[in-house]
């Protein structure tokens, strides 16, 4: 079901055209990521979709009233505790006090911040504050979720939880719009990826050939391969995905120990 339609949406900032006549329809449950360099218009488009920013020309049409929740990249803490803030947000979402409290407790546990919920938000670290922002967006299931660099400052375990939660929301039919640089997150959540070329929205395809970075430990003083480089106390080896599948068992058989395997673009 179509829920949001962008009709010839353009946006100018200080005379500079950031978005140029974008015509696009989004359906319920779609998960869309916008990628591109800083200032290319990703966040602006997210805000235009939510009608937080007015387009210079064109219009945004919803097929029904939509509840948007928003996870911004930067967040200014207020002078109350995280739990108090979340209870207020729950009340604005129409949740009862007890329902809010239970939901906050359960989400706090999922994101490993139960002990920090009663700390003043101004005393929380950037990562924890970002988790509070995520929690406020997950208190009630929205129709549309806007994510603007949602993982900034979050630890790996929380990133995993976050990805699972977002994918659960997708299964429930929540439409996701994301502005993001992290390929790992885009791969885990987005089904459609767009970038901006001269203000127009174009489909984005990742390189088909992926490169990986193997981190290996040399415990048996084995001879090094030419491509190997010193990596702390270990050695790194940059390798493409086909070679990786073939070479990894051979290296382990020789006596190398695998200490890490990363997507080269994410490293």
């Amino acid at each position: 079901m179509e829920i949001i339609q962008l009709k010839n949406v353009s946006k100018k900032y200080d005379g500079k055209l950031v978005l140029d006549k974008i015509d696009k329809t989004f359906v319920q449950g779609q998960s869309v990521a916008f990628v591109g360099h800083n200032g290319c218009g990703k966040s602006t488009l997210l805000k235009i979709i939510a009608k937080l920013v007015t387009a210079t020309s064109g219009e945004v049409v919803y097929n029904k009233p939509l509840l948007f929740h928003y996870i911004p990249e930067k967040f200014s803490p207020v002078s109350i505790t995280a739990r108090q803030y979340l209870i207020h947000m729950g009340a604005l979402d129409g949740l009862g006090k007890e329902e809010s409290k239970d939901r906050i407790e359960s989400l706090g546990k999922d994101f490993f911040i139960t002990d920090l919920l009663d700390t003043a938000m101004r005393s929380l670290s950037k990562g924890t504050l970002q988790k509070v922002v995520v929690l406020q967006a997950l208190l009630k299931t929205p129709d549309v979720l806007l994510l603007d660099e949602p993982l900034s400052g979050q630890d790996m375990a929380s990133q995993k939880v976050f990805i699972n939660k977002i994918n659960q929301l997708r299964e429930q039919g929540v439409t996701i719009f994301m502005s993001c640089h992290e390929k790992r997150l885009i791969e885990a959540i987005a089904e459609d990826v767009y970038t901006f070329k001269n203000g127009s929205l174009t489909e984005y395809n990742y390189k088909t050939q992926k490169m990986y970075l193997m981190i290996l430990e040399n415990t048996k003083q084995l001879p090094l391969m030419d491509e190997m480089k010193k990596y702390g106390q270990y050695y790194s080896l940059k390798i493409d995905q086909n070679e990786c599948d073939q070479m990894l068992p051979e290296l382990i058989q020789k006596g190398w120990k695998l200490r890490g395997l990363y997507d080269e673009e994410d490293k």
Binding site: A50, L52, L67, V78, H88, L92
Partner: protein
């Protein structure tokens, strides 16, 4: 209505958990102490009310300015999307400031009443009646609403240059207080000063009398309240059109 209620509660919670209210409270305490100190007694009932009206106006300009300067666009966006109604959102902002004004009015009204009771009715030139208290409350309410409307007008979405916003707010508030002498010296300035809060009307009506008249007080409240509502509406429309 429930959403407006929740929004107002949220804003009050944040305001009183922060430290923004401390300085206005301290300054008000000093003002009241000096105003009703034994050296100044006995004070005129109407005169003290007029002075307090001007004080409350300035104080609410200060509070309105500090509240609107403290708002973070990101926090506003998160709430704005939840509430889904421009009217609810901006109405709650206005109600929040009116409630703060009412708290200030209560302090400024109760202090002289208590001091007068503790001093066996010697604080004022004549016995203080319930009629005086009612009239003073009406005038204080009008002044506080006019003050917070002016103070909160130059919101960061109305004027991005915060220094200019502060300078203009202080200038407008000062000119509002000294409007009568300025107009007396430069009558032509009326062409411009009509845009400022009509606080001078309180002094024009009650400046030379010793007794309140409820019709005049209600009329003044109505004029100040309508002015404040218009200013709030203009500000909200500008914010609505400019978005974020």
């Amino acid at each position: 209505m429930k959403k407006i209620n929740e929004l107002v509660k949220y804003q009050l919670h944040i305001y009183f958990k922060g430290s923004k209210f401390v300085m206005p409270l301290v300054v008000t305490a000093i003002f009241l102490f000096v105003m009703y100190s034994s050296d100044a007694r006995p004070v005129g009932v109407v005169t003290s009310c007029l002075i307090t009206c001007n004080w409350v106006f300035l104080l609410m300009v200060w509070i309105g300015l500090s509240v609107s300067s403290d708002e973070s666009p990101v926090m506003e966006q998160i709430i704005f999307l939840r509430v889904k109604s421009n009217v609810y959102y901006y109405l709650s902002k206005m109600l929040f400031l009116i409630i703060l004004g009412f708290i200030v009015n209560s302090i400024c009204l109760l202090y002289p009443i208590i001091i007068n009771l503790l001093n066996n009715g010697t604080v004022f030139e004549r016995p203080l009646t319930n009629f005086d208290i009612l009239n003073c409350l009406i005038l204080l309410c009008g002044s506080s609403v006019a003050g917070c409307s002016l103070g909160s007008f130059f919101h960061s979405r109305v004027m991005k240059d915060r220094k200019m916003a502060i300078v203009l707010t202080v200038l407008f508030a000062t000119v509002t207080i000294v409007k009568i002498p300025i107009i007396n010296s430069f009558p032509l300035i009326k062409i411009v000063t009509w845009i400022l809060p009509p606080l001078d009307m309180v002094s024009r009506i009650y400046g030379s009398v010793k007794i309140f008249q409820v019709e005049n007080s209600v009329k003044l409240f109505f004029i100040l309240f309508v002015y404040a509502i218009l200013v709030f509406i203009v500000k909200s429309l500008i914010c609505y059109r400019r978005k974020f």
